[in-house]
């Protein structure tokens, strides 16, 4: 026969075991992150060097870090980057060992990438504001954008008609 005391003691022991395991694994992660820092993998430093390229890299890190794993297409859509902009960011982040590809269509953060992201903690809007844009292509208002898209659609139709 279970008593209230038994249930409470069981719960307390379960919680304690869970905490001890989490603590041990966290210490291991901290050691690994420290080792990666020593090896010079953390190359992003927003405070020292703010630039549109770095903003794009942090934006990509943030979007990738939102998911357990994601796809390049999804990152491009959610970070509002063109495929070319995304490729450039991914090449740099991969070289710095901040992201990895578990398989050809999946991207995830490495421990070093997570550590960089946690250190920066930039608001999404701030990073978006710093994103590189081609001024020739940024229209001034919604109507201009609609007109520019209509023109682009006409051009595509004409190109496909030929």
């Amino acid at each position: 026969m279970l008593s209230e005391f038994n249930v409470l003691i069981g719960g307390a022991i379960g919680g304690l075991v869970s905490g001890v395991v989490a603590l041990a694994l966290n210490r291991r992660e901290l050691r690994r992150a420290a080792r990666l820092r020593e090896e010079g993998h953390e190359e992003l430093a927003w405070e020292q060097h703010q630039s549109p390229e770095l903003a794009t890299n942090l934006l990509v890190l943030e979007v990738v870090g939102d998911e357990i794993e994601t796809s390049a297409v999804d990152v491009a859509v959610r970070a509002r980057l063109t495929p070319t902009e995304l490729r450039s960011a991914i090449d740099g982040l991969r070289e710095a060992a901040l992201i990895e590809f578990p398989n050809s269509n999946r991207i995830k953060l490495t421990e070093a990438g997570r550590s960089v992201l946690e250190r920066h903690k930039l608001a999404f809007e701030e990073v978006v504001a710093q994103r590189p844009r081609d001024e020739r292509q940024v229209a001034q208002n919604s109507e201009d954008l609609d007109l520019a898209i209509q023109d682009a659609v006409q051009t595509l139709r004409a190109r496909h008609a030929h």
Binding site: G19, T82, P83, Q137, V138, L145, A148
Partner: protein, 193 residues
């Protein structure tokens, strides 16, 4: 019996709603039933644990003075609080059941997430194969215009992005079409899934 079902129902419903906010499954994507089955397994697991908790507390004589229907609702909600319970925090690590629960949750979410990525890939490819580029552009623009949750600025930002994708001269058309197809099908908003 009703109390057991209520405990399971509350825990299962909240678990489902949490997953529904995270995973975007295109309506007609191939593999969507496999994903829904995987989600159902995690929902049933939580519902089963809530039933076990109810049985345990009833056996131990907890909450005996409470109406069984109310007790079922309380245990269902209480189960979800219990698995996230922290007794104390040491070196920023919570002592409680949270760690084990998060471990199980991450494992389930990782499996579901991989299937969602594959399903979205297939759905995007199917849309790209059956839809010309200009129509994809029109649908993507409509998608951003019709997003009632987006602000005017977010709608303009999405349109600006569509325009930049069209004019991205260093990318092949198929890649541009895939990106627009994903935007149309997933409705991903900037910074959110």
């Amino acid at each position: 019996m009703l109390a057991y079902l209520l405990a399971a129902g509350v825990a299962g419903t909240v678990t489902y709603l949490e997953m529904d906010q995270i995973f975007t499954i295109p309506d007609r994507s191939p593999g969507r039933w496999v994903i829904r089955r995987a989600m159902a397994v995690f929902v049933l697991l939580n519902a089963g644990l809530a039933i076990a908790l109810y049985a345990l507390l009833t056996e131990a004589g907890f909450l005996d003075s409470i109406n069984p229907v109310l007790r079922g609702l309380l245990v269902g909600a209480g189960y979800l609080s219990l698995v996230r319970l922290k007794f104390a925090t040491v070196e920023e690590i919570p002592f409680g059941f949270e760690y084990f629960y998060n471990l199980a949750k991450r494992s389930a979410y990782a499996r579901i997430n991989r299937r969602v990525i594959d399903a979205r890939d297939k759905a995007n490819s199917e849309l790209v194969e059956t839809t010309p580029f200009d129509e994809l552009v029109i649908r993507a623009t409509s998608r951003s215009t019709l997003d009632m949750l987006a602000s005017d600025e977010e709608r303009d930002e999405a349109k600006d992005w569509v325009l930049r994708v069209i004019n991205d001269d260093r990318t092949q058309e198929i890649e541009k079409k895939l990106v627009l197809a994903d935007f149309i099908l997933s409705g991903s908003r900037a910074g959110h899934s």
